[in-house]
């Protein structure tokens, strides 16, 4: 009873320590700043954007960067800067639910594999290995070919392909914890399986998975942008960094700023989340460094 309370307060102060640890490293600080600004601009996008990101303004079309249009306009006269900001929102809208979903399902399956009967473990492991053997983009293309393009499709594909990664790590952690002293003590006292898994194992596994998730976000953002670039992801006129690249690519000689405007945020976001993830990993669990 008391240990639950102790657990939450512990994890809260731990979080503060972890953030402080990340910020102490220069790379981690850069990562925090980049990720912070992306999240901030995504949340407050509607206040930041100088123009409506989907409002066409044909007379102002294909203008280069200037004081009125920081990053110029596209073939329909839409303000690129506004679309870049709004695109960040779309990127996170895809990445966060997809990763959260994959993490939740992966965690559940992984814990079941680690705690459940041997045959179930073997079956789940074979399934994970198999899913990991599909080239992600090819798999995404196959699904898109079948069910058509939509934001949900992208989320589904990302989830399906990253579940095994989380599942495997959760399983390993569960197996390690399963035989640790405090879990054995709980079992001896007759605690239910749900209580053991939910109350005692979960808090210990989730930290490692969170690091994985941070490292996974850039991959997902790039995949969303990539599919949108191919015209198989987010549908126009919704602004996505990938859609910006697609528009810019079609008119690369006339509106090159679209390519830069769509490309740089992707690289920046990837850089930010990678730095953050790397340093987070070192702070949270130095052991992981060698295993991956």
């Amino acid at each position: 009873m008391t240990d639950i309370i102790a657990d939450t307060s512990k994890s809260r102060s731990e979080l503060a320590i972890i953030i402080a640890g990340v910020a102490r490293d220069p790379l981690g600080l850069i990562g925090l700043i980049i990720v912070g600004s992306i999240v901030f601009s995504a949340i407050f996008a509607s206040w930041i954007v100088p123009y409506d990101p989907i409002a066409m303004n044909i007379p102002d079309r294909m203008q280069g960067p200037s004081g009125t249009h920081l990053l110029g306009t596209d073939q329909l006269g839409r303000d690129t800067f506004s679309r870049v900001i709004a695109g960040g929102q779309v990127a996170l809208k895809v990445a966060l639910p997809a990763i959260f979903g994959a993490m939740t399902i992966g965690l559940t399956l992984g814990m079941i594999a680690g705690y459940g009967p041997k045959w179930l473990d073997n079956f789940l492991m074979l399934l994970f290995d198999t899913i990991r053997s599909f080239p992600t983009v090819m798999f995404a293309l196959a699904v898109v070919a079948l069910v058509g393009t939509s934001l949900q499709t992208v989320v589904f594909v990302v989830m399906a392909t990253s579940i095994p990664t989380y599942g495997r790590v959760a399983r390993t952690q569960t197996l390690t914890l399963r035989n640790s002293e405090f879990i054995l003590a709980e079992r001896a006292m007759g605690a239910s399986m749900a209580r053991i898994l939910g109350v005692h194992m979960l808090p210990n596994i989730i930290g490692v998975l969170a690091v994985l998730a941070a490292m996974d976000i850039p991959t997902v953002i790039a995949l969303e942008a990539g599919l949108s670039f191919l015209g198989l992801g987010v549908k126009p006129p919704t602004p996505s960094w990938g859609v910006l690249l697609k528009d810019g690519y079609a008119l690369i000689r006339q509106t090159p700023w679209l390519v830069v405007g769509g490309g740089l945020p992707i690289i920046l976001a990837t850089l930010g989340f990678t730095f953050l993830g790397e340093i987070l990993r070192d702070v949270v669990d130095p052991k992981l460094r060698k295993n991956r």
């Binding site: 053997s133 599909f134 090819m138 196959a142 090159p256 690289i267 990837t270």
Partner: protein, 312 residues
């Protein structure tokens, strides 16, 4: 060795069978009926019925799976809905272009990455080591298709040093056309491999047999470049093998950006024209490519590492 190879490829075959089954079931499980999607809104009931019969979709699921697998065993990936040509032929026409791209990318990035990694490990904590580490992390973070687009913009459109589209003819022209696409795919690998080599090299250089090599007066170049590298390179081989899926993904985007023929362009074009059998065939071949490449990586490791061969 032969026994090892046999075992490894049997395992690859098993994974492939399960993978095909899972893919088959998943695709059947997702909502939507492939025939309606393929034919679009103009589908007449007769046309639909004919296509369903042609593709065997009216059969039971296990039967469909059986038909699919027996086709695969004969190298039959189905028939192109529009041209009536063999999907196998179409896919294998495009495959060499993609392979050329992937191998050129992994070749230059592995050579550069290994070189950088060795140098960094031989001179740890110097400014070159730190610079290489910073560049590595930044390179890893660069998605291939963004690099492809930006390099297209800078080097092909503005500077016009390299051709923007196509694959070229003859050796030199082909190589010239490969530069930017393989730069885009390889860039993140340079950083990745450099980091990997640096880490495993530092570990190997601390081992006792390296001290022995030094005690016999072998040159530092020989020690790092041959005695240590032979061991430090093993994880690189594995990573490249497992990374084939990632390489294929990068190749899809890069082929589109540089308008190069290949598997990626084939799949995208087929999705646009709703040519479902070709999409399936290409995805299948690329999955096979991936599974085989991991097996080949294990085999190369077994050749490079006699301990792996005898299973000790």
């Amino acid at each position: 060795m032969i026994q090892f190879a046999f075992k490894r490829f049997a395992l690859a075959a098993l994974i492939l069978v399960v993978a095909v089954t899972v893919m088959f079931l998943m695709i059947r499980a997702v909502p939507g009926d492939p025939v309606s999607i393929m034919l679009g809104p103009r589908a007449t009931p007769e046309l639909k019925a004919r296509l369903i019969a042609e593709m065997g979709l009216d059969q039971s699921l296990p039967k469909q799976l059986f038909i699919y697998f027996s086709g695969l065993l004969r190298g039959d990936l189905g028939v192109d809905v529009f041209s009536g040509r063999d999907v196998t032929t179409i896919v294998f026409e495009q495959l060499p272009h993609t392979l050329k791209l992937i191998f050129s990318a992994i070749l230059w990035s592995a050579l550069l990455g290994i070189g950088l990694g060795c140098y960094a490990a031989a001179h740890p904590n110097t400014w070159i080591d730190r610079a290489a580490a910073a560049i590595s992390v930044s390179f890893i973070a660069a998605p291939a298709f963004v690099v492809a687009l930006l390099s297209l913009l800078v080097f092909a459109v503005y500077l016009q040093w390299f051709p923007a589209i196509g694959v070229g003819e003859g050796f030199w022209d082909t190589a010239w056309h490969l530069v930017l696409p393989s730069l885009a795919i390889g860039l993140s690998w340079v950083g990745y491999i450099a980091r990997l080599v640096r880490a495993s090299m530092l570990e190997v250089l601390g081992e006792n047999h390296i001290r022995t090599a030094r005690a016999f007066g072998l040159s530092e170049r020989r020690i790092v470049g041959i005695y240590a590298l032979r061991i430090a390179i093993l994880p690189v081989v594995t990573v490249i093998g497992v990374g084939m899926g990632f390489l294929l993904s990068s190749a899809v985007f890069t082929e589109i950006v540089f308008a190069r023929p290949g598997l990626g362009k084939l799949v995208i074009d087929s999705i646009t024209s709703r040519n479902y059998p070709i999409v399936m065939g290409a995805v299948l071949v690329s999955t096979a490519l991936f599974v085989i490449s991991t097996a080949v990586a294990d085999l190369i490791n077994a050749i490079l590492d006699p301990r792996a061969r005898s299973g000790t």
